[in-house]
Amino acid sequence: MSTHTHVERMKTALFPAEGTAAVNVKFFLGNDRRVSAEQLADQLDRADAQIRSGAAARATALDGGLAVKAL
């Protein structure tokens, strides 16, 4: 098991010494306002893993085919 913390892992993953680095990362917090840095970094790490593995893919129809009305 890795001894690196989630924060340290994500710092390296997002901002590698070489290669593509992130230019912005922000969060929409959940229902529990007492979240830790470790928990948030872990969520980011998990999302990255899901996308890398193909378990998560781009969405289409984000608005779910809304019926639009005129004012």
């Binding site: 593509t20 912005n24 959940g30 998560a56 781009r58 969405a59």
Partner: protein, 203 residues
């Protein structure tokens, strides 16, 4: 001025619900130079986070200009109104200034520290301040003034409930009281104010 341009655009649509995909995001792309905007449903713990944005700039091919990719990830089980609000709030970070961007390991750690232990407003970093401002930017985008004006009298007269207004606008029900309060006007004055007139004059 970019967000003011977006607001002017959605306020001029004269329709509701304001659509995020293909309408708001296309305008954001045009205003901010984002090359690609992706929405990705992922399995998150919604008690911790409902979503996040990760922006990257990279060279797809040698000698090509940098491609700016904005990836918005959201918890895959969010209902439609919350999904739209979470994604819209994250999309508003496309307007972050360079000092507001989390663009280094040091700033990333600082942002996480501030979320874990928030500082008083006057001491909060520009990165952290952008977290709360973008929620209001999303509210103004999904419920611009003309749309609010259409529903406010009905809501005040109790002819429409929070739920009914939320259903019409396809935004989260708990947001309705906030949008219909005078806080909306105060925030509007700060984020938009007379900048709309300046935008008209500069055309």
């Amino acid at each position: 001025m970019s967000f003011v341009s977006l607001y002017r655009y959605v306020a001029g649509l004269n329709e509701y619900p304001v659509r995020l995909e293909g309408i708001v995001d296309k305008k954001v792309q045009a205003l901010t130079g984002q090359d690609e905007i992706w929405y990705v449903p992922v399995d998150l713990d919604p008690t911790i986070s409902l979503g996040h944005i990760k922006q990257l700039r990279y060279q797809k091919l040698p000698y090509q200009e940098l491609t700016w990719v904005t990836e918005i990830r959201y918890h895959k089980e969010l209902d439609l109104p919350l999904r739209r609000f979470v994604c819209c709030k994250e999309l508003m970070h496309a307007f972050d200034t360079p000092e507001e961007r989390t663009d280094s390991a040091k700033k990333f750690e600082q942002l996480l520290d501030e979320i874990e232990t928030p500082l008083p407003n006057e001491l909060a970093s520009p990165m952290f301040q952008s977290e709360s401002r973008t929620k209001w930017m999303a509210a103004l985008t999904l419920c611009p003034g003309p749309v609010r004006d259409r529903f406010l009298p009905l809501w005040e007269a109790d002819e429409l409930s929070d739920y009914e207004v939320a259903l019409e606008l396809q935004i989260p029900e708990p947001l309705i009281k906030t949008i219909m309060s005078d806080r909306y006007e105060r925030v509007f004055d700060i984020l938009i104010g007379d900048k709309l007139d300046q935008l008209e004059m500069s055309k």
